[in-house]
């Protein structure tokens, strides 16, 4: 349904755009309805950039992003507004997602203003109530409040409710629970699970492998802007082939081991090379399991 084909992104940096920084290199993947696809990788590996390109908040330098076959990198403003009926995002910092001087439910009101200007107030109010309920919020407890009067978990859920007002097909969730406490995390995560049941596709960006493992069918591991390993979650996490993936998995601290007993071994990895060159190609190593060759 949503498909990225050989997507590249380079930023111009330095004065007058004299230098180039390639943040995403030759990334291709697709998501199907009812599927959660996790994107994991170290800081700076390009996860957020991929998410923002899917949301068209930043342009792609090369490649195509298609929703149901239509390349949205080429549609104009009109097309983009229609695209946002189908694809929405939630970001990491709930407090930055709300304009602090307005009431929090303004994010819902803006959806009405842009997409449902002719819907009657009473009809809209019940629609809002329904979508708040579906994310586990009670309308009376959150409507009419300012962002600082609500908790991070409530704010993140309200953003999901906002996306649901639009009957979306794809949700881009960029580290949406990394700023929540452990118990709220699980609630929001389970909420994503139930959305998946309803046929929503979720692009779940995270650096927490256990979360990725918990929620997703498929996983992408990124490094230096390129995919190094991808496939079914069980395959990739159960039998990591790329040295980087192995390091990543080995570095997840276990609850019952201590550093003093068993320091985590780390394998030397090849350094960051020339990013403008195409990355190592992915080869199939198993059913639903691909790994980039190591040079």
């Amino acid at each position: 349904m949503l498909e990225l084909e050989k997507v590249w992104k380079s930023y111009r940096v330095g004065s007058l755009g004299s230098k180039k920084l390639t943040a995403v290199r030759d990334v291709s993947f697709s998501i199907a309805p009812g599927e959660v696809l996790s994107v994991v990788g170290e800081s700076g590996s390009g996860k957020t950039t991929v998410g923002k390109m899917v949301l068209q908040l930043i342009s792609v330098s090369k490649g195509a992003i298609r929703l149901d076959g239509e390349d949205i990198t080429k549609t104009g403003k009109r097309g983009l507004k229609e695209y946002y009926r189908n694809v929405q995002g939630v970001f990491q910092d709930p407090f930055s997602s709300y304009n602090p001087i307005f009431r929090a439910d303004r994010v819902l009101e803006m959806v009405k203003e842009s997409y449902f200007p002719r819907v009657k107030r009473s009809e809209w109010d019940s629609k809002v109530e329904d979508s708040l309920q579906s994310v586990g919020l009670e309308a009376g407890a959150v409507l009419g409040k300012y962002p600082h009067q609500l908790s991070g978990g409530q704010l993140q859920r309200m953003l999901i409710a906002r996306a649901l007002l639009l009957d979306i097909k794809v949700l881009v969730a960029d580290e949406i629970i990394s700023m929540l406490d452990a118990s709220t995390r699980i609630d929001v995560l389970n909420l994503l699970g139930s959305l998946k049941e309803r046929g929503l596709a979720v692009l779940f960006v995270t650096h927490d492998l256990s979360l990725a493992n918990y929620i997703s069918e498929r996983v992408i591991i990124m490094r230096h802007g390129a995919i190094v390993e991808t496939g079914a979650t069980g395959k990739v996490f159960g039998d990591p082939r790329h040295p980087y993936s192995r390091n990543l998995l080995a570095s997840v601290p276990q609850l019952h081991t201590k550093w003093s007993e068993n320091p985590i071994p780390v394998v030397e990895l090849e350094p960051d090379g020339d990013r403008s060159r195409p990355p190592a190609p992915l080869t199939k190593v198993d059913e639903r399991h691909w790994v980039a060759s190591v040079g």
């Binding site: 908040l57 997602s97 304009n99 602090p100 307005f102 009101e109 200007p117």
Partner: protein, 293 residues
């Protein structure tokens, strides 16, 4: 339409709170009283007085009396009439010059800050050029070329030269605000850049913008007075600065005609000082950390 009302109503609570503190802040009260009081005198006064303030109507160099409240000039013009007309033109220059500078400064600042990239580099260069131009020298050259120097042309020239610092500050603030996630969220709702600037970014800078307007207003009045004083003022009307210039030119100081130069001088000082006090007070209002217990 109704949704618009709803959205603006959201901020009403906070605006009201700010208004409450503003009207209880003694600095704001004193400053506003001075500025508004003199403005009323300048706006309403001329309707009750002669429309030709430069007319020779009475005895020369007479001290203040019941007939001539602020006395007469060396040539026998009524100082109070001149003063009231001068106030009016000073406020006109201040508002028009300040407004022009504010509009240019905001447009440049918001565009540069929001668009970034090459647009920003170009606008930034333009801003810096205007900033380092010796404005006074340029103004003198331009002013001396104009056939009839009026209050309006003076205001336009002042406006065209005093926007850079607003542009710089607006640009800097826009730069940080445009990276907030709520701006991205507004984009995801299909909002256009203009709407995002007006409705997401600008409200967060409202206090700052209000204070800039006040400073620009005061700056324009002071700048105009300076031009007038060096003889570059309006050639077809009276202003506070040109009154002082005339007074000095005819050595009112030596002749002891204090009523000729004290009122305009005091008025300029009071207006600019009043605006400054208002600003300091507003700063306390918007910045609760500065509020006294």
């Amino acid at each position: 339409m109704t949704t618009d009302v709803m959205l603006t109503a959201d901020t009403v609570g906070q605006r009201r709170e700010n208004l409450y503190f503003a009207l209880r802040n003694p600095k704001v009260l004193i400053g506003l009283t001075i500025v508004v009081g003199l403005a009323l005198l300048g706006v309403i006064g001329p309707f009750f007085l002669s429309a030709t303030p430069n007319e020779y109507i009475g005895p020369k160099s007479e001290a203040p009396s019941a007939d001539h409240w602020l006395g007469t000039t060396y040539f026998g013009q009524d100082v109070f009439t001149q003063f009231v007309h001068g106030l009016r033109s000073s406020y006109l220059v201040g508002s028009l010059g300040g407004l022009i500078a504010f509009v240019i400064g905001m447009s440049v600042g918001f565009t540069a800050g929001y668009r970034g990239g090459l647009v920003d580099e170009f606008l930034n260069m333009l801003t810096n050029v205007v900033l380092v131009l010796p404005a006074l020298a340029v103004l003198i050259v331009i002013s001396s070329y104009l056939e009839v120097r009026g209050v309006i042309s003076q205001a336009v020239i002042i406006g065209l030269f005093s926007w850079p610092w607003v542009a710089r500050a607006v640009r800097a603030q826009t730069f940080t605000l445009r990276n907030r996630d709520y701006v991205d969220l507004a984009k995801l709702t299909g909002k256009r850049p203009g709407q995002i600037i007006m409705r997401e970014i600008m409200p967060n800078m409202a206090s700052y913008l209000l204070m800039s307007v006040i400073l620009l207003f005061g700056g324009a009045i002071l700048f105009a007075a300076m031009l007038d004083f060096i003889g570059m003022g309006p050639s077809n009307s009276v202003s506070l600065g040109s009154m002082m210039q005339q007074a000095m030119a005819w050595s009112s100081l030596h002749l002891g005609l204090w009523w000729w130069f004290v009122p305009p001088g005091a008025a300029i000082t009071l207006i600019v000082g009043g605006l400054y006090i208002t600003n300091v007070g507003l700063d306390e209002v918007f910045n609760p950390k500065l509020r006294e217990k």
